[in-house]
Amino acid sequence: MSKVIKLKKGLDIKLVGAAEKTVVEMPVKGLFAVCPTDYEGCTPKILVKAGDVVKAGSPLFFDKNRPEVMFCSPVSGVVNAINRGEKRKVLSVVVEADGKQESETFATDLAALSREELIKTLLDSGLWSLFLQRPYGVIPSSAVAPRAIFISAFDSAPLAADMAFVLEGEKDNLQKGIEVLSKLTDGKVYVGLKSGVKSVCEDLQGAEKFYFDGPHPAGNVGVQIHHIAPVSAGEVVWTVNVQDLAIIGRLFRTGALDMTRTIAVTGSQIEKPKYVKCVAGAGINAVVAAAGGLKAQKEGESVRLIDGNVLTGTKRSADDYCSVKCNQITAIPEGDKYEFLGWAMPRLNKFSASHSYFSWLCPKKEYDLDTNLNGGVRAYVVTGLYEKLLPMDIYPMYLLKAILAQDFDKMIGLGIYEVVEEDLALCEFADPSKTEIQTILRDGINLMIKEM
């Protein structure tokens, strides 16, 4: 009953610094944090103050727009600080772990729970915030049942964690997670698998499985939805990251909230890239150090730390914290250097989707790319390029222009319900006009949320 969907469009960007398949376990101590800014559209109302004692699963804040959605502490310990930025915007709620990992108790007997009670457990335990809904890529409303729930069991982004490796031994948790999801939707639960790769997710019962074959973004759940059963106007589907599914399953199997996850620490600037097993919300510094730390930097050089992959991740400083949903940390060199006549040079060490450089002749080579913009911002000139990088029946440039023109009918018609930032990230990478495609798309989606 499983089908293979072959995707031709897209692009694999091969980078130096893939994580070696060893896992370092990080002890639960030090500071952990939940950052409201990691959640699109969340306006936090803080429920704790410094010095409060919390358990894993104790609410730290909720979203003022939707008071039922709680964001909870991943660890037990004492609230250390509530960090604020400009205009007193809450940046992070920091908890110092006591190492005991005591959990709040929730109603977790899945067989005995009604759908409403199940939703309440998810909302109260903070696990609801792990779901995303399409359209819009925001935390779903608990009032609307999704048409279906989609999970991508692999990540095709540059240097991404090997999910088949990460999920070894999580099969029971994943199976329980699927049972939870089945109760949340009247429709089906779909799992997208990588064709030709063994994974525990292949054995999951109660979910319909599809295999995908092709370059990035084949692992993006949005691309998979598009090919399995696309989101149309008026419909809502949910997605959940496969590691988060294991965390959800864990709560209902053990009754205790255990936000342990495995993070791939990757990139050319990591001394020995490998996997780190830690509790969600750990400090970036601590996770990177657990993997062996950063390479020594020469004078005048600096490193960019990214929560996530190089295409869609968030820039972090070493003192920041991993987002709760973090699967990967990437460290690459900053590219704040001038390059003499760079645009006219052969640039053998740089990667390009275009054939005007030579990287297409050596498809196996791994590149050490930096953060230089490699040019100046221009109007859209090149055509046909964006379509090659998006394996969906969507015209990206027309969608972007509809957004810039704030033409709602066109935005809907051209498929804004089907995409989130990550789906267009490759277009942004390859854009010779250096426009901020992901930002434009998010602005468009936020406009839709506001106006529709």
Binding site: I306, S352, D393, Y395
Partner: protein, 390 residues
């Protein structure tokens, strides 16, 4: 390079806002980014970016134009020496090239200086960075001119194309019509005698003194005048190599194809557009062969592709991503129509010996309409899905 960088850094403040030469800020910035790729890093979105930028894209097109330009210079000399009976010089490749080089270079310089001056000024007024688009237009314009064109007309045509054709619409990326074709069309309608007829295509012919047996008419002019294909002075092999009178860069099919190969391998030009222009022209030629009402209609279809500006237009002008259709499906329709229209104008309308320029201009105008229907079809597919679900 360090010394140059230090020098640039030293003089930079004078050109920045509030500096002594801030009125030249955009110009300075243009030259600085030409010399050094800026040290700007990504702020939002994708942290790494492709090393391709518009400078690279444009320079590839300029490189692709070089074979046609170099052959054009050679051909200018060749035609001149042939016309004036200097057969020894006509046999020397270097003599022909040098003669042509010194005739063509001023046209190229005038085109670039006029166009870039306007672009620099407009960028300063708008407070934007200088756009690279004119790097290509500045090379295209000389190559579609006859060698005897007065330089002031080149300057005027270029200025018209840049100001009215491009800047009035908002600059590179916003223009509806291809600036180089617009320059040619402007000159064609404003100064017809300087860009058409039997004299202008060969250097010196207007002044007189050439051999009586030499005709400076292009094959297309002769065909339009009713000459039977068999009675032409030149052979299809001459058309293929390009040793015939004509616009500077348009005559050599083979030189243009070298450029086309570069554009296609690098992916800078769309193979869909290019191929479908040739296909459209060929099919229209075949259709005329079938009708066969006069000598011109009987010209073998593939000969149309070798003659005049057809190949040049198909490879370098129709593929301009800004003014062509932008959807893949639209590009095929757009290309087929250009090819068909160009041959149609040639054969049916003797007033215009060459139809390529008008065909591309017309289709530039129609391209957004083609795209509109392609995009509407996409929207309809999506809307139909909603109806199916309900």
């Amino acid at each position: 390079m360090k010394a140059l960088r230090n020098f640039v850094d030293k003089i930079k403040p004078a050109f920045s806002k509030g500096g002594k030469f801030s009125a030249l800020g955009s110009t300075f910035e243009g030259f600085e980014t030409f010399l050094f790729v800026p040290n700007t890093v990504t702020k939002k979105g994708s942290h790494i970016r492709d090393c391709v930028d518009l400078k690279r894209v444009m320079i590839v097109v300029v490189l692709a134009l070089l074979p046609a330009a170099i052959f054009g210079m050679y051909n200018v000399g060749l035609q001149h020496f042939r016309a004036f009976g200097d057969l020894a010089a006509a046999d020397s490749i270097w003599q022909c090239f040098w003669f042509g080089f010194w005739k063509v270079l001023p046209i190229i310089v005038v085109s670039y200086v006029t166009g870039l001056a306007i672009e620099f000024a407009m960028a300063q007024i708008r407070g934007e960075e200088i756009n690279e688009g004119f790097l290509v237009s500045g090379m295209l314009i000389p190559l579609v001119m006859p060698v005897d064109i007065p330089l002031w007309i080149v300057a005027l045509g270029t200025a018209f194309a840049v100001v009215i054709g491009k800047e009035a619409f908002g600059g590179t990326g916003m223009n509806v019509f291809n600036p180089a074709i617009l320059a040619r069309a402007f000159i064609f309608f404003a100064y017809t005698s300087q860009i058409s007829g039997d004299q202008v295509w060969v250097e010196g012919l207007v002044k007189g003194g050439a051999l009586d047996t030499f005709s400076g008419a292009t094959p297309l002019t002769q065909l339009a005048d009713g000459l039977a294909p068999a009675a032409l002075q030149s052979t299809p092999m001459d058309w293929f190599i390009g040793t015939i009178p004509g616009s500077i860069g348009e005559t050599s099919f083979v030189a243009i194809m070298i450029g086309a190969a570069l554009l296609l391998v690098t992916g800078v030009a769309s193979w869909r557009t290019m191929l479908s222009v040739f296909a459209g022209g060929y099919l229209m030629g075949l259709l005329f062969n079938l009708i066969g009402a006069n000598d011109y209609m009987l010209l073998p279809a593939h000969h149309h592709l070798l003659l005049g500006g057809f190949a040049f237009g198909a490879v370098f002008m129709a593929t301009d991503p800004v003014t062509s259709a932008q959807t893949n499906c639209g590009k095929i329709i757009y290309g087929l129509m250009i090819g068909a229209l160009a041959v149609l104008i040639r054969v049916i309308n003797p007033g215009y010996p060459e139809g390529m320029m008008l065909a591309i201009l017309f289709m530039n105008g129609v391209a957004p309409l083609i795209d509109h229907y392609v995009v509407e079809a996409n929207i309809r597919r999506r809307n139909n899905r909603v109806k199916l679900v309900k």
